[in-house]
């Protein structure tokens, strides 16, 4: 697993330069609660037909940061963007709350704020 640190300002540019849909498979978006109510957001990719070749772009964010959407580049990312909005209570551009929780729920089950 190769991890590459990015910021919210340059994640879109990084993925735009990296992602070729015929070479790389987008697995999912992941969140990991960190200390001080921070969250690590991970964009996870694997290479088609390559042995265990996984690349993870990651950024540390504060609870009130807005994560840029990558749905215009990777349409399938919408479902995992909506999942981390629900589970971590963070904001992702263009991704509404309400996939698993009620749209007006104040819960954020996996956020560092609630652990």
């Amino acid at each position: 697993m190769k991890k590459i640190k990015v910021t919210l300002e340059n994640i879109r540019e990084n993925i735009k330069n990296f992602y070729d849909e015929k070479l790389w498979h987008f697995i999912t978006l992941n969140g990991v609660a960190l200390e001080d109510s921070k969250t690590e957001i991970q964009w996870i990719f694997s290479k088609y037909e390559a042995m265990d070749n996984i690349v993870v772009y990651y950024a540390e964010i504060q609870q009130d940061d807005i994560v840029p959407s990558i749905v215009d580049m990777i349409p399938s990312a919408i479902i995992s963007q909506r999942e981390i909005v629900d589970m971590f209570g963070i904001k992702v551009e263009g991704s509404d709350k309400g996939l698993y929780l009620d749209a007006d729920s104040t819960q954020m089950p996996l956020s560092g704020c609630s652990l």
Binding site: T28, N30, V32, I44, V56, P75, L101, P109
Partner: protein, 361 residues
């Protein structure tokens, strides 16, 4: 201006025994827009794994995520932990893990094919496949002691050995299953209800499969060569005769035929595992507590299953992330429906083989 109507499919629907709802915007019979809702039964398994259970019990918790691919879940988690603990299991344990993994695939594919028959109005075939599927359930019971929840995989190996009497019985049952599956292949290629009716319906092209990151039989039926068994070396799939199956048509019929071919390949693999089972122990003691991050993927019956775990050297993990195949394919599902007739929607949905138990983990 044309008038459109909204028609819901689910969350309770006669053609689908899972709590998912698709809301179709239709213009006459054509679907022109789709909205999906998959969040009816979310169970909070990921949070439970990092708050209620120690890492060595989590493998048994995640097996409860899904009754159909319980082995794939517990195996993915277990291998992720073993990677962090630098643990190596014996060849015999690896072979037995493959055996259960492929049996999961066989009975899950048979379930999907039976539902496809049901949606085609072919009730007799539905009953026949469900009846024949019992043979696989019996094999699983012989191997693990249970028909559904197995608790067969543990950190360091597997919990039960295969006796020579059971090996002989299993080979006999697998031979019978192969004959049954070959007869299904005839039906699915020659019977109008199961072949022509489903040709050109619910098509996902290769380009769309790439664009929507399709996985599993859905992707391979469109010609996309993605199968995690081809991209990992935790288990020796190539030693025991794994061959990637693909199709090019991308429609319901292609998905059915692909699943039948995969069942036949899985039967080959199971037979090769039993005939070539190495000697040795089935369990190795692995000590320590997980520290660091690990990502492990396995090919579940519906496609790529991913586990991410993060440990800090304590008994309770910091994070367990489960990415299930159906969840990842929801955007592709929604895309495929657009342009199709509403009347075909139940059959298209059944051909996706969705698992909402996995999705709402």
């Amino acid at each position: 201006m044309k008038q459109t109507i909204n028609i819901p499919l689910g969350s309770q629907h006669i053609s689908l025994l899972e709590p998912v709802r698709f809301k179709f915007e239709c213009e006459n019979e054509k679907i022109i827009g789709v909205d999906s809702d998959v969040g009816f039964v979310h169970r909070g398994v990921e949070r439970a794994c990092t708050t209620k259970f120690k890492f060595d019990a989590v493998g048994y918790v995640v097996a409860r995520v899904c009754g159909l691919c319980a082995i794939t879940h517990s195996l993915s988690y277990t291998v992720a932990v073993e990677k962090l603990l630098d643990g190596e299991v014996t060849s015999k344990a690896k072979y037995l893990r493959i055996l259960l993994l492929e049996l999961d695939r066989i009975h899950s594919h048979m379930l999907c094919l039976s539902h496809t028959c049901e949606n085609a109005g072919f009730e007799a075939m539905f009953m026949q496949i469900m009846g024949d599927r019992e043979l696989i359930m019996e094999i699983q019971e012989l191997l693990t002691g249970n028909r559904v929840q197995f608790d067969f995989i543990s950190i360091g190996g597997v919990n039960r050995d295969l006796s020579s009497e059971n090996a002989k019985l299993i080979l006999e049952k697998l031979k019978l299953v192969r004959e049954k599956v070959l007869s299904y292949m005839d039906e699915f290629t020659s019977n109008w209800s199961l072949s022509l009716k489903f040709k050109g319906v619910g098509v996902l092209t290769l380009d769309e499969a790439y664009r929507f990151n399709a996985i599993g039989p859905l992707a391979r039926a469109s010609g996309l060569k993605i199968d995690v068994r081809n991209e990992i070396d935790y288990l020796p799939f190539n030693e025991i005769g794994y061959e990637m199956q693909t199709h090019t048509d991308g429609d319901i019929n292609a998905r059915n035929i692909l699943r039948l071919r995969e069942i036949l390949n899985s039967i080959d693999m199971c037979e090769n595992v039993i005939n070539g089972l190495p000697d040795g122990e089935i369990f190795t003691k692995i000590k320590g507590k997980p520290k660091g991050e690990s990502i492990v993927r396995f090919e579940a019956p519906r496609g790529e299953l991913m586990y991410y775990i993060k440990g800090n050297g304590k008994p309770i993990l910091e994070r367990v992330r489960i990415k299930t195949p159906t969840f990842a394919c929801i955007p592709a599902f929604s895309h495929i429906f657009v342009g199709q007739d509403y009347a075909d929607a139940p059959a298209i949905l059944a051909s996706f083989d969705p698992c909402l138990s996995c999705t709402a983990k």
